[in-house]
Amino acid sequence: MERFAALLDALVYTRSRNAKLEQLAAYLRETPDPDRGWALAALTDGIAVPAVKASTVRNLMRERVDPELWTLSRDYVGDSAETASLLWPEPATSAETPAPPPSVCEAVETLFAMTRANVMSELPRLLDRLDAEGRYALLKLATGAMRIGISARLAKTAFAQAFGVALEDVEEHWHGQTPPYTALFDWAARGAPAPDTGDLPLFRPFMLAHPLEAETLDLADYAAEWKWDGIRVQTVRAPGESGRGETRLYSRSGDDISASFPEIVAALDIEAVLDGELLVRGSHQGGDEGGAASFNALQQRLGRKTVSKAMRRDFPAFVRLYDILQLEGEDLRALPWTQRRARLEALIPRLDPDHFDLSALIAAPDFAALAALRETARDAAIEGVMLKARTSPYLAGRKTGLWYKWKRDPLRIDCVLMYAQRGSGKRSSFYSDFTFGCWDGDPDAGAELLPVGKAYFGFTDEELKWLDRHVRSHTVNRFGPVRETDRSLVLEVAFDSVHQSRRHKSGLAMRFPRISRIRADKPAHEADRIAALRALVRD
């Protein structure tokens, strides 16, 4: 438990992603089973301990500490588990040697064995064996609220780093495993065979694309498709534990989003693993022929635990299929793209047409013709073009030379720097997060700047130093880590698209804004107006 408590604190205080990865990887490498597996579960999904609730901790403390002192302390610290860990009375030193701190596994098993009836006497016995850091870790673990910024993705990356295995393999084998993940550690740390996941509807890692940097490609070697703007999903159907068939829908990160899209899950009755884009019916992308609404429409459906009939009616979702990984027990991933494509096309007539269609290939005789078609993509509100090597197997991750995304060129607009915030980690001494705005009218006639976006990349290290100096010498106001500047600097901002948004005062929100150029040469009043940005909206 001490090592886990130290890890927890280190993760709390570390801001850099790489340093978090290193700490987590070292812990996973050095800690024995099953402690490391339980720790991993606690850090990612949390461990549900039915007998311990947030109120349990309060009630325990009420028995030991004056209520007024508890309230004063809790208000100051701001976190009940932390307050309790600090206020917990050290057990009186007795002649008998105190029990040593529990291992994570012992703590978890003891917690699981507690009942509502005995938790008030059993939990103190565990707390008495720990120091303040240990008590904090135990209470956080028991109440399932870590909130220390460890995503499942980060945990898997750390796991891969710890044992020198491929992240894609970790993602593939992770699914279907339950804490303390002993089979997974046996595979990665001891070279045992990968866990047998047989008939479960599990996630397979996606094949991803690199941005196209070459000037041209031979379309005899590469097939072209439109790049649709939804979310990449994997639809998986397998016999499941019941043997009667189970379907799951996974996002690109491997999160199970089946509950948000029950109609898709219900629509697949063939055992298969399908790769595609989740979209909502409409005519925004590619007109009637494109048949897909904007990303904003899809957003109405994302992240919901339950879906109303009205939601399903107003935002009907479907999957536009790009690829097929498995069909009726046969793994197709090693086949060249052309053969997988043929299998996918042959499958389409067997699928429910309301919920699955095929991503069409773009018929272009050569690359120049494709480039010309891509030029029209913005008018059709399509994100860009995908290029796939015809010989390409389906490989996890981003492999060079096989798949390319060729996004349309970014939009650009000149904005004025308004606020800057200090970064974190290596950038903690630099003002590196920039908020910028456009004029809401004629700046020479008293117009004001309204914030239109925020960006923290796009610049070089040298440019960052320059920007940091600019912020420090042009500050007019400070709000904690934020500085307001004198609004004298013009920044050229590149972005993929701009949308209506009620969340911003300007009524607009950019997608993927980044600083493309510092325009120190341009006077602030010559920066663009909100109207110019609004004209680029294609909602």
């Binding site: 205080y13 500490v65 002192l69 004063l72 302390s73 100051y76 610290v77 303040a132 290596k426």
Partner: protein, 338 residues
Amino acid sequence: MTARDFAWIRPEPWGLHIVPADCWVDPARAVDRALVTHGHADHARGGHGQTFATPETLAIMKLRYATSHGAVPVAYGETIALPGNVRATWIPAGHVLGSAQILLEHTGERVVVTGDFKRRPDPTCAPFEVTPCDVLITEATFGLPVFRHPPVEHEIARLTRALAVHPDRCVLVGAYALGKAQRLIAELRRAGHDRTIWLHGAIAPMCQLYEDFGIALGSLALVSQAPSREAMAGEVVIAPPSALADRWSRRLPEPITAMASGWMRVRQRARQRGVELPLILSDHADWDELTRTVTEVAPRETWITHGREEAMLRWCELNQKKARALALVGYEDENEEA
């Protein structure tokens, strides 16, 4: 039975007024006659007509204000007679070099002003002495039961472990220039760390002063004189807290930002400061030391100043001890020297 109201000592917003002697303890503004407990700027202001303090405190004030006008040195244990039949004695408080409690006696009544104090051993200053009295005027900077400082060895071990784990980085510790920095150095030495410790320019003069008073701090050097950035890898660097996130720190090799303060006990406080390695190292009494001191001194009344009076008042109430809170201004509450 004589009613005692201790009217001869009166808390005013800018300090404690000793009425018959017309002098002030740690006044927040210039007065004719000041009795100063220790050298931190919020207690030892400049510009008084006369300043009574220990020789160490006076030397610290001279370093700060470049003048020793009106300085009257008083050694620990020495009693001086003040006008109005008031006697004052300086007693070690264990806070920083030269820090004192001041015992005030008048018409048979004894009042002890603790100033800032701690009860833990500190190799850079004389230890706190329990002094019986009628009224104990105590600080309460860490007057909340969540503040229980861990043993200093524990925190020093965390610092040296960080050095060992990251040999290519340095540990940059934010520590107040008077007291905390020197105690940190002395504790590192006690733990066997004998390498050169690198200092920000604002820390060095106070270290020299400590050395002049016979507190050995070992090999020290200025960061500005380091041969290269790489030479700082694996070393301890000490700077005032304000320099941690400043451009100054860019000259260091990927510093692990640490902060030595009692406030580091609370995670959110440490996170707000962007600290990676919070070291819970305080020159103030923690909750257990504060309550233990009230119990051991056993005064008739406890007056509580600068800090979290509410929780201390509640504790006194629960333990049937007479207490009141004084609203003195001018002492930094959430200051960096804690």
